[in-house]
Symmetry: C2
Subunit: 432 residues, 2 copies
């Protein structure tokens, strides 16, 4: 890994919007599925996934079959991970609230789950059962009654059994063997076999990402995810073997993954660079990790930890590890980071798989303004106004004044209609 001064480094950042051809292809698929429904879905599945399916929904028999194909140790670990994820996300649940004023007015906010949510799960080698848990469990904790998965089938018409097992553990209600832009279309517009959803979450290839962008507004979508990133902020007390291993754990994801060490210690920088070389030789996904480190990786030297935190906040990484003495003392210096891992034992995969925090985290610098996936992403709020006669009598004329200032006379008249009645009532009372 190259060692450079921090002020000479700039993260490469862009939003993937695809080529015009890809955009048009996606629009055509969306329009076709909207019009022809399952027939179009079937045709695209045959073309892209090379399998012809009459029914898209995974059957009970297929679930049962999958159960037998997944190692008991993996199943047990998924079950325990699910319990931890539930425990953490349970703490995010919010209550509806009200405030009843002495004047008789009641104001409040109702929090309610979405009704139906679609989770896109990529196929092939990127089919991660842990991601099924991370997306589906917060939705179920929020109270979403219908959580459905769409995922591309293999050429044999089957789904990765670990995905089905994880879906069972997470309480997913329906699974459909549909992938790509046609899956996003079916989830948005609905077909005879697939009912439309309110929100679509989960990562996917460029066609899935473009399709989500197109349907944004008809349904809710999550942030479009970019390649994974890790920044490790460490001082001379850090173990270079741990730092190197953690950098590599993100670099192996994707040739565009970013793995960056920020440190005031030249000794650590050099030790980590050596360790990375050594550990690289032992990795099955070595080529991916090497490309990622070459193009997006770096060891950044800073003058002190304060400059280190400034660099971190500029990068706004998805994952931040802080390996220094007493990391909690410095936690308040982090402004922008999706997930923060403190100390030598909080290796980032702990969060990917097991601790209970969510592993769907903002990438590409978007931790500046967005958040890890949470129960909040699966609820909607409504405000409630029960305004009292007394308050309207006292404040109505102010509302009329504001409406008239904005040239919205009918707004004012809606209030005035009541104020006139109040005046009449008062008159009648005075006369009697």
């Amino acid at each position: 890994m190259r060692i450079v001064q921090a002020n000479q480094f700039d993260a490469k950042r862009s939003v993937e919007t695809g080529t015009r051809e890809q955009q048009e292809a996606v629009r055509a698929i969306l329009a076709d599925v909207r019009e022809r429904g399952d027939e179009a879905v079937r045709a695209y599945t045959e073309r892209f996934d090379r399998v012809r399916l009459e029914n898209f929904r995974v059957s009970e028999a297929e679930y049962a079959e999958a159960e037998a194909l997944v190692a008991p140790a993996v199943k047990a670990a998924l079950t325990e991970a699910a319990a931890n994820i539930r425990d953490f996300h349970q703490r995010q649940v919010r209550q509806s609230w009200f405030t009843a004023k002495e004047s008789g007015t009641v104001l409040g906010q109702i929090v309610r789950p979405l009704k139906r949510v679609g989770l896109y799960v990529p196929g092939g080698t990127a089919a991660y059962p842990s991601s099924v848990l991370m997306n589906a469990i917060p939705a179920k904790i929020a109270g979403v009654p219908e959580v459905v998965i769409a995922t591309p089938p293999g050429p044999d018409g089957r789904i990765n059994p670990a995905i089905l097992v994880a879906a069972g553990i997470a309480g997913v209600n329906e699974i459909y063997k549909v992938g790509g832009a046609q899956a996003i279309a079916a989830l948005t517009y609905g077909t005879a076999q697939i009912k439309p959803v309110d929100k679509i979450v989960g990562p996917g290839n460029i066609f899935v990402a473009l399709a989500k962008r197109e349907v944004f507004g008809l349904v809710s979508i999550d942030m479009v995810a970019g390649p994974s990133e890790i920044v490790v902020l460490a001082d001379e007390t850090a173990n270079p073997r741990y730092v190197a291993a953690d950098l590599l754990s993100q670099a192996e994801h994707d040739p565009m993954s970013a793995a960056v060490l920020v440190t005031p210690s030249r000794a650590l920088a050099e030790a980590v660079a050596q360790e990375v070389e050594r550990q690289l030789t032992e990795l099955p996904r070595r080529q991916i990790a090497e490309a990622a480190l070459r193009d997006y990786g770096a060891i950044l030297l800073v003058n002190d930890l304060d400059e280190g935190f400034a660099v971190v906040n500029r990068l706004a990484p998805e994952h931040l590890e802080i390996m220094i003495d007493n990391p909690f003392d410095q936690l308040g210096k982090v402004e922008n980071a999706g997930a923060i891992f403190l100390g030598p034992y909080s290796s980032e995969p702990v969060g990917d798989y097991f601790a209970g925090t969510n592993h769907v985290i903002p990438t590409n610098g978007t931790a500046r303004f967005s958040s890890p996936l949470s129960v909040d992403d699966f609820v909607k709020k409504s405000s409630v106004v029960s305004y009292s006669k007394r308050d309207l009598q006292e404040h109505g004329h102010k509302i009329v004044a504001l409406a008239e200032q904005e040239g919205l006379a009918a707004h004012g008249r809606a209030i005035q209609e009541r104020l006139n009645d109040f005046a009449k009532e008062e008159q009648e009372r005075d006369q009697s």
Copy 2:
């Protein structure tokens, strides 16, 4: 207004994506401002707003001037409304939380304000000071240190004084005289005069909406707002004058605004239809309201209130008024509505201007999955993992198993690197 059976009515719904020409025009403006900065902003302002500005930022002198131009009654009403909005939104503020486990592991979620937020304010007759309060106050309550406004200047290079006064009341930090797609570009990429923001909120014309869609991902944006909507659910106890006035208060917004009454009472339906005709004649914005009622308005007859609630939930209106006896008893039947107004005195303009709830509310059926603007929209969350040695020792092998199942060997090795050290330590302890 036409009276129809509810099952014969379908809301017209679509997402405004503009023409290809509009999209290209917006992309060209974005690219140009990104490259040429203030020079490009100046050129577009000259072309579209017909004024040449050297400095875009509103000066202290301009604020002072505006103060003198706004009626004291309006200023007082805005100030009181702001206090109510603050009181309501204060209740939405969330704390960071932690859980410290007996095993030594600490998990948590940090809630932090965004650093810099841009609020787009339309110009001309659609410049609403109430919207400045509704967008800026939740941001300030969230703790956003820099809230800035972009708004197009008039041909005299000035801003509507009520906007400036409202901005002062809300605590807005900077105001720039820039509108259209060039404003969205400047807020996203930054220029010499305008620093980039983390999030852009606020309504705008089609060019503003398309520009927001384009920069989504580089910055956060709020939902693209559609025309305003109201649904009134009322029974025979409702006052037809109030119902009619409230329907008209939304219909006057825009020829595409939807105003719908849902009722099991034919008598009320007919009385409201008559009242609407009568009240229409007195409205300055009569033509807009008439067009809206013709194309998007309706009185829908239902068999009973339960069917009424089903219709409401299908429409998922921005504003819902419930004018029946004991409306709180039926509140739980509302699944989809942005803001719910209960009883005869909760006329919708009460919420637009004064009660304290937010008036930026999901339109176009998106209340199915989105929420009124709130403090939540101006914060970001980070998760925190401080995993203990004891927990890693106990659970590490499960994490390794999950990583290996997913083919992510380096994830497993990051954990294994620590587990090996633990084993070595134990061995050494046993030997000593």
